[in-house]
């Protein structure tokens, strides 16, 4: 849907900050998350996981466990269908290992029992005979010839012959003459970087409750970013028809991409079918770290040429990503995003995905982009330092804008990068003096943003209130934004609208809550559904007045006679039309079903002031500002919330968070004590500056905001630390020991 540019819109409700509809439930403890429900006769299941990074499963003997009192069912990989589709088959094998355990924590069996204690005891009675195989967890090591082979025969046709068997994907993007571009440069910097795998770190572990009846009807309650995705995948793994499996999304305790796939849901369903009883599975935090998430780990080379007045003449990047033990296309997005912020004559990025004995990558907020952009923005910053140029001026000078041929191919439409950079430059933060020992880091960020499949039903109740039924789990306040858009479009107060998230039997298919798509796509579909309802309400008014439908228009929450021959009638409000709807043709509802496009790319700029303790290497963030184009901020509180929360996740990634593997290939820090996410005392306030440059692809100009903010912190902090300690840092996280080592080596 195009932007409503014909009317200079004065929003009445969009842009205000009303309380969210789920607020009271969530502050009183009443909201029901994945682990908060029970069913009569329910069993509890636990999962046995591989203690080896890589091992052939020679045999699994479950007989002793099955014989234990209170144990009702045991399953292994053999109990799951293996779909033909390669992507679904990988999910199936990740859910439960078949012939090989591919990483420390890979599920190999599961037990359902009458109590958690019995289930736990039964796990110990399962005898798995492993043949331990050589393993590899480092991305560069896995690319070497002769590296341990994780899976064979998984290379796509794009992978050139002669590469390590572990390489599954290869991609290349760019345009222009690189050699000519570098020849024009006054200075060229080439650097290599590494980033650790990080976890989404949602506070709610995965949890679900499954029930399957003897006639094959199943119900599944789970915390997920997409109940329809869960239905599709589980139906395939169960050999069920979609209509027989109803999936209800619970309230979700964070996802950030990590709940866009399944882990325990098929296990609970298979156990429920096998035992004939409802089965609940709740992951422990240890299981969450070892077997879900994380991001790719990466190794990246970047080469950039610049003239002495700050024009980038050419840029090149080689990206090696590992998405763990299964093929993973995330490197494509990194290779596309790396140079997206720049208007370049010559640019080339090459990417490879490499298998390692790590858990299967799950999407994490702008998947693939933070790592690539960190490497590019680090080199741009170093060039600014060498050439004594202002880092924001250089970015303004080279910024992608409308008409720029992007580094990944298409020509950009209206984008807000320049406005964002200029807002950062004009902000008091950028002018504030720094004390000795302090430094300021700058970085741009980018994400594509998606639309996707979306259904909305909007029901007009006879008392003049409205119910909006949508299908995307609300992670960050989206029900408030959807209600605001419905209220705006219908011209009724916000508190007359209630938005709910439907189960899979109650609404058509919706893509998962990902790609910063919900406020954009569900908002767009809600506006269209409201317009559909308005047409119907105008028709009811026309009938009542005995005039043509076309002679009625909707304005300020009411139908009005319009045009010269419409006649004189007092307007009929939504409530008045709704009150007589049974008498005028029946209930009134609006619908919209769409595969939405036009999401529009998103840019942000972050400024970070910090200091580094030279004795310990510890970095303290002193001041942090986020500048981002939100298109139209529907509920500014939750737009700021995305910007602040994303920034802090990026700060954690830059400073502390990492998957640490031992020589034995086992994850050494599967808990919040050793995998350190930012806590309140680590941080200053995060200033969020929202720019509103309407997105031409949405009727209200809305642009997705959720993912971009995690991108810039990696380089903003690394650039600040590099300037503070006088050494160019090339590996994340910038944990105190690593920074201290760099200071001492300098």
């Amino acid at each position: 849907m195009a932007f409503d540019s014909h009317e200079k819109r004065q929003f009445k409700q969009v842009g205000t900050r009303p309380p969210r509809p789920d607020g009271v439930d969530k502050v009183t403890g009443r909201a029901q998350y994945g682990a908060d429900v029970t069913a009569p006769g329910m069993l509890t299941a636990r999962i046995l996981r591989s203690p080896h990074a890589h091992a052939r499963i020679v045999s699994i003997d479950t007989s002793e466990a099955e014989a234990m009192a209170g144990v009702k069912g045991v399953v292994t990989g053999r109990d799951f269908a293996l779909p033909e589709d390669a992507g679904l088959a990988d999910i199936a094998v990740n859910v439960m290992a078949r012939d090989k355990a591919l990483y420390d924590g890979h599920a190999v069996a599961a037990v359902a029992a009458v109590s958690p204690a019995i289930a736990k005891a039964a796990l110990k009675a399962i005898k798995v005979q492993y043949e331990v195989l050589p393993h590899v967890t480092d991305v560069d090591a896995a690319m070497q010839p002769g590296a341990p082979v994780v899976l064979e025969g998984r290379a796509l046709e794009s992978v050139p012959a002669g590469m390590s068997v572990n390489v599954t994907h290869a991609s290349e993007f760019g345009h222009g003459d690189l050699a000519a571009g570098f020849a024009k440069a006054d200075r060229i910097v080439e650097r290599s970087f590494k980033t650790a795998a990080t976890h989404q770190g949602y506070i709610e572990p995965h949890a679900c409750l499954a029930s399957v009846t003897v006639d094959g009807k199943a119900d599944l309650w789970c915390c997920t970013q997409g109940q329809f995705m869960v239905r599709t995948v589980c139906a395939a793994l169960m050999g069920m028809e979609a209509s027989q499996l109803r999936v209800t999304a619970s309230e979700i305790g964070g996802g950030f991409g990590g709940k866009t796939t399944v882990f325990i849901e098929p296990v609970a369903l298979v156990l429920a079918r096998k035992t004939g009883r409802p089965v609940k599975i709740t992951m422990t935090r240890d299981e969450v770290f070892r077997a879900t998430g994380p991001t790719v780990s990466t190794s990246i080379d970047v080469k950039i040429g610049m003239t002495k007045d700050g024009r980038i003449t050419a840029g090149e990047a080689r990206l090696r990503y590992s998405g763990g033990a299964f093929p993973c296309g995330t490197v494509d997005m990194g290779a596309m995003a790396a140079f997206a912020a720049y208007d370049l004559e010559a640019v080339r990025t090459q990417g490879w995905n490499v298998l390692t004995n790590r858990p299967k990558e799950a999407a994490y907020r702008a998947p693939g982009a933070p790592q690539a952009i960190y490497a590019v923005e680090s080199v741009v910053d170093e060039l600014c330092q060498i050439l004594k140029l202002d880092p924001l001026d250089v970015r303004i000078r080279n910024a992608a804008k409308k008409g720029t041929k992007s580094s990944y191919g298409p020509v950009f439409d209206d984008i807000g990068l320049l406005a964002t950079l200029e807002a950062a430059k004009a902000h008091p933060h950028y002018k504030a003096p720094l004390k000795p020992g302090q430094a300021r880091g700058v970085s741009c960020g980018f994400w594509f943003n998606f639309g996707g499949n979306t259904c909305v039903s909007l029901n007009v109740n006879t008392d003049g209130t409205v119910g909006v039924t949508e299908g995307n789990p609300d992670i960050g306040g989206s029900r408030a934004s959807i209600s605001l858009m419905a209220a705006e479009e219908l011209g009724i107060p916000y508190d007359k609208v209630r938005t709910i998230v439907a189960d899979t039997a109650s609404l058509g298919y919706n893509d998962v809550t990902d790609g910063s798509r919900v406020t954009f796509s569900v908002g767009l579909a809600t506006i269209a559904a409201a317009r559909d309802a308005k047409v119907k309400m105008c028709a009811r008014a026309a009938k009542i007045w005995g005039i043509d439908d076309e002679a009625v228009e909707w304005k300020d929450g009411a139908a009005w006679p319009a045009g010269p021959n419409a006649g004189q009638f007092p307007p009929m409000s939504l409530a008045e039309i709704a009150a007589v709807s049974f008498q005028t043709g029946g209930p009134i509802a609006g619908h919209h079903e769409v595969n939405a496009d036009g999401a529009g790319v998103s840019f942000g700029v972050h400024l970070c002031d910090l200091e580094v303790d030279p004795e310990t290497g510890k970095t303290t963030i002193l001041r942090y500002s986020v500048f981002q184009d939100a298109g139209k901020a529907v509920h500014p509180d939750y737009v700021e919330g995305q910007m602040q929360g994303g920034a802090v996740q990026g700060i954690g990634w830059a400073l502390n968070e990492e998957y640490i593997y031992g020589r034995d290939g086992r994850l050494q820090n599967p808990g919040f004590l050793d995998y350190r996410v930012p806590v309140a005392s680590d941080l200053p306030m995060i200033e969020a500056v929202i720019l509103e440059i309407p997105n031409p692809g949405h009727p209200y100009g809305v642009r997705g905001v959720g993912e971009t903010p995690i991108v810039p912190p990696l380089a903003a902090i690394s650039n600040g630390v590099s300037r503070a300690v006088g050494v160019r840092m090339q590996e994340l996280p910038l944990s105190p020991p690593r920074v201290l080592k760099a200071i001492k080596a300098a």
Binding site: L156, S158, F173, F256, V411, W447, D597
Partner: protein, 81 residues
């Protein structure tokens, strides 16, 4: 005819050509003509691709119209978090 720009790694299947001309009026027709002319592209097309048409990115939208002067860029199928 429409000019279609392919991302780099697809060029191995088009004799190194980055830009292919096809007779197509929609998203779907572009993919069908590409797969016919260059069978090596078929596995990637079947796995899924995105397409930017005049700067706007589409996923799976078969009947999106394409004008002869449209800028068409084939990109990997993209997913977010």
């Amino acid at each position: 005819m429409v000019k279609v720009l392919l991302w780099g790694s697809l060029r191995a299947h088009t004799d190194g050509q980055a830009e292919i001309e096809v007779q197509a009026r929609t998203f779907k027709e572009v993919l069908d003509r590409l797969a016919e002319a260059h069978p090596g592209l078929r596995p990637q097309i079947e796995r899924g691709v995105s397409m930017a048409i005049d700067g706007r990115v589409y996923r799976e939208a078969w009947f999106t119209p394409i004008r002869p002067d449209s800028e068409v860029v084939v990109m990997p199928y993209m997913q977010g978090g």
